[in-house]
Symmetry: D2
Subunit: 296 residues, 4 copies
């Protein structure tokens, strides 16, 4: 496939190289010209504007830092929209706002062009290893058409529908999950350290109990299915646990704001009659806060 | 080994059965007598008081609901402390407070008895499958002595030192991690649902990206090692991501208190000059809040 | 009145002096004897045990640091309960837990003694100026009987019923309101300072707009009456405001966790259909979280 | 003075009427024409576009709902910028974002026009009573020039400097303080109600202790002066208080997220060695979170 590629940061570079390796023809653009030249040796053609990178290709991939960078590259005077042929497709892999993704979809469709939001999960080393996971959304025909691109850069793709911006929502929600885990780890390790527990031992436990077991996956399944009965572990026992964790933090002088948040949610769950549901029903509370499902 | 076992809820029953299967001799006590009788058929001897369950055994295991239940069973008129021989060991597997565990250690030691805190990770089905993960702490000789018990009920044990209550801290910290993941999942799935994403597709992504990849483990490693440079994903980019997640939540009218917490922590990290560190440095902030490591 | 007084910290000393000035006869006890002697010059009789301070008086006032201090003084071997005559009253002015206050009530009543919880609002200088505000609860006859004590130390009293511990709940809730205002002030002044606004000017505005106007009182009235319609200022406008405050904080790199909390509550209020209510309806949300009033 | 006035909602109408009463000549514009006509009877001239309201006047006041409304009225084809003479001044009283206020300042200055940000504190009834408090910022000459406008609509003005947007920051920070008080009241009244305390009695206490005393003002002074020693009430005692409030909430099943936030901040303060400072030092922590003053 003849593909344009814009944005050669550490993620973009790895993806572009994998596209070349898979035998695709690449036209590349990067604001800092020197970075683009590195790819020239691998067979890419380097151009001077985003518009040129979009000219004459079947699809142009953008992999940029943020909303502003994408706006410049797409809507600018020498932007992608001006260069891309009718029927050709913009594959937007940057992590951008849901709002901008919706605007891009509208603008491309108005110009007779295709738009597929396809943000990826994975750090640069994962990108190099062709192990990215892609979340794609857009008109089904467009998504199917760019499948060879996904095949060349990742290990799999989940298609989340025809509304392109849904893919961006999912990407942001996924990163939020990772950040939540980091903060929780930070609080837990701090508690362990101040309580005299060797961090490497706590790490061993985390691995043994959480990442080498299906525990998180199981809870995700309960949440996806809104299945809170019968309880495997009841909410009121969960509240007890978090209360004790906070007490341990208090004794060791370790503030645990995430634990405080959990306590308040669990206390509310119990106060509202959900004490005997599985503690996965925290998700039920979350839905109700958002105005969903109160009547169920 | 001749073992006493007190507390035959769904967890305790499974553990007791596995001890019998492994060939140990069991004396069991349960407040509700009927439950104990079920184990009689499997070869256990049923007694009428906690003290009797502790008499003449090498170790007595308690697996009870909460602090109060353990206090009653251990310190009561016909409690474990009165029955247990000098040199015999109390293995406390209940999820109890750090403070009570410290009191138990002191009381048993004063009575010339051993005390090992050995809370377990796993739900009843995991206990039945002999797949519990045990966190043990106490005097090394005592911990070594009760190893056959751990072998009979679980798939592994992490020993976290001579201070018994450290095991309880770790257990509480571990459950806190699970609860954090549940709350984060709740908020993320609510965002996905209100944004029109099929929950089953979001579940597929969670599996593909998070539980079938070493991502959480890798971050736990960074946190354990306090290794925040060079950054794989910079804090200020993380802040950008969470900001966009909150904006998506705002547009869909989905409150995300955990995301708000993350935003404030990340904003503080950036304001305090940690913008170019890996976003795992949330753990650094957590440590500093607790009065650790500000000078590093 | 013949009164015992226990606890001569900066608050207690001021109260004891005012009791003497009002003409009451005082028997005082303090753990650190030297402090008690200072009051001797003002006419107080100094004794060696809490029990002695309770002997032969009509009422004994305790003003101590925390739960533990009160427990020692009341339940100890030479404690108040042992010294106090049947029919005499213990006036507990310390800021203690609701649970302990309930236990004190039960213990005194069982001993045929009276118990009035009477925590006070005010710092030591306020106590010296006889300007404390007292919150009293207990059996009406008992509360009426110790009115002369209240008259001698404060400028007013609110009686909140026959259940003594209600007074302690109210005291804790009041201190919580003060602490909330402090944290909010902290965040607001930090935002002002980082935005280049002179803190003294911001202070002038706070005075002019908030403390010299009935604004807080008005909102407290709306909350007390659960009167959220018609709206003076609508919830969705409030959400807008907080959103802009957070954006200002973001631009100035000022984390505002309290503002984040408000944003999430307001967003939930809007998501649940309360957008057109007065923003005082945050209190309605709070009640619902506690399982109150969901049906109204 | 000859004044243009744009935006006749309940706030604007009251302000416009007071300007007329003070003898000023008014040209008014409102998107909904009917509302403007009501002012015609009071002597105002009604025009058809924002630009016309800005033509030939010395100053034009805008009092609109949000950023979008202000952008439309100022930057639109028939907007204020096009109508306003060089040297004439735009007085922006709407509650808008800090960012938009900065943009307005730049645009007006580029056009040779003056710009004063002058948001107001007060609800419609306060506006009618000419009791608004104005926060003004902008070039000193411009601010001085429009003083007659402030005199006609309010009871006072605080000038916060030459950077116009500082006034908007202050307005948002002020509203944040009010919202914080509302949320705190919501949680406190819920605790009181679930604990059986008559809300009207709790209201009486709030009035007596907090709004009829200088307590909030005193704390604001400590925060403004960063004066945390000697302590009137020490941080660790504050932590004790909040802990007891949370325990009371727990017993009554009342989630108190604001109290949880306070607890974590106070625990961090204590962990970081601020336990003996006045609890007003919550503001110190807030400043440090924002990267201010860590070195002091």
């Amino acid at each position: 496939m003849k593909i344009g590629f814009i944005g050669l940061g550490s993620m973009g570079r790895a993806m572009a190289r994998n596209l070349l390796s898979a035998g695709h023809e690449l036209v590349v653009y990067n604001r800092t010209h020197a970075r683009a030249e590195l790819l020239q040796d691998h067979g890419a053609r380097v151009v001077e504007t985003p518009a040129e990178a979009a000219q004459g290709v079947e699809a142009v991939v953008t992999m940029l830092a943020d909303d502003r960078a994408v706006e410049d590259v797409v809507f600018g005077d020498v932007g992608v929209i001006r260069g891309l042929a009718k029927g050709a497709i913009h594959v937007s892999s940057s992590t951008i706002s849901v709002g901008l993704s919706a605007r891009l979809a509208a603008a491309h469709h108005a110009a007779g062009q295709g738009y597929v939001a396809a943000p990826v999960f994975g750090r640069p080393d994962v990108a190099e290893a062709k192990q990215l996971w892609i979340v794609a959304a857009g008109w089904p025909g467009d998504v199917a058409f760019v499948q060879p691109i996904f095949d060349a850069v990742g290990r799999g793709v989940t298609k989340v529908g025809a509304e392109a911006q849904a893919a961006n929502t999912v990407k942001l929600a996924g990163n939020f999950l990772i950040a939540s885990m980091i903060e929780a780890l930070g609080e837990a390790f701090t508690l362990a350290r101040k309580s005299g527990v060797d961090p490497q031992l706590f790490l061993e436990i985390f691995r043994s109990v959480m990442t080498k077991s299906p525990i998180f996956e199981r809870y995700a399944g309960l949440v996806a299915d809104e299945s809170y009965e019968p309880a495997g572990f009841k909410m009121y026992l969960g509240l007890d646990n978090i209360r004790l964790a906070l007490a341990a933090g208090e004794a060791a002088e370790v503030p645990m704001p995430m634990a405080s948040l959990l306590r308040d949610q669990m206390l509310s769950a119990v106060a509202r009659g959900m004490g005997d549901l599985d503690w996965a029903a925290l998700a039920k509370l979350s839905a109700e806060r958002a105005g969903l499902g109160g009547g169920r």
